[in-house]
Symmetry: C2
Subunit: 166 residues, 2 copies
């Protein structure tokens, strides 16, 4: 079965481990403009509606989405609470660079880069890169079942993009 590119509104996320760098790359197309995707990643109310797996609620604790700002949220559900925090190194129309730490592993820090590639016709390819300082840590994260949260979160994002101003 083939689907013409013009009728596809999104693709599933592709999740790749770099063979030579301690990096995970996630690529995903969205039926949205770069400006809509930027807003969905920087507006705390929108972000809380889609991030993470099904069955979890996201409570924003702190959110200052500007270059040099910082953020903290807690994911609640499945019988637990899981906190995350980081700083926004840079926010610009086509790119977000931020740090990311899970409270349960306080010495672990990922440097995340999100790039919004304008595909035209109201479609955007998201390129997300997470860089850490060990292959062991990167591979343990990949084995943790993280793709469930990625795919379920992005499906929620698909569903709410109609509410996001272009």
């Amino acid at each position: 079965m083939t689907t013409s590119p013009s009728t596809r509104t999104h693709t599933e996320a592709r999740i790749e481990a770099d063979p030579d760098l301690p990096v995970v790359r996630i690529t995903r197309d969205f039926a949205a403009t770069p400006a809509q995707l930027l807003r969905a990643h920087t507006d705390p109310e929108l972000f809380a509606r889609w991030v993470g797996p099904d069955g979890m609620r996201t409570r924003i604790v702190h959110w200052d989405a500007r270059s040099g700002g910082s953020w903290r949220y807690v994911a609640e559900g499945h019988g637990g609470e899981f906190g995350f925090h980081g700083c926004f190194h840079e926010i610009r129309p086509d790119r977000i660079v931020q740090t990311f730490t899970f409270d349960g592993e306080p010495d672990g820090v990922a440097l995340e880069t999100l790039v919004f590639e304008d595909l035209g016709d109201g479609r955007t390819r998201l390129h997300a890169q997470s860089l850490v300082d060990s292959f062991e840590g990167r591979d343990a994260w990949l084995r943790s079942g993280m793709e469930v949260g990625v795919d379920q979160g992005y499906a929620k994002l698909d569903a709410l993009l109609g509410d996001v101003p272009a």
Copy 2:
């Protein structure tokens, strides 16, 4: 010639490229407590007095040294101005994690981790790690003559540690 450990006040910086990770590690001993080294890295007036090579002045543009804060400074001298900026992911007594970008290469971001290892007797070993997302970028930085700035900066830091409260 041997020098007994108790009479050495510092060693030269050791600068190493990791063979398997896009990381540079710098190790340097100081005749200072961890608290003094932390202060020399977080107090903007102290930091401006030692960072960088001889012959450059450092002008702090913005400085908010707390977890989730950010910083910007400009190094002036040798006929030019060179801006740098980043955010502080975490500041705690034994560790600073921050991002680092040179304005002249705005898409390049390093994740820097500084660890202050207490050696006792008023001596501290600084472990500085810079993580980037390419070996080419890492190696170009190593070939740039960066060790001059590192060694001259830390020599200035040695000289002012007597003024830093313990």
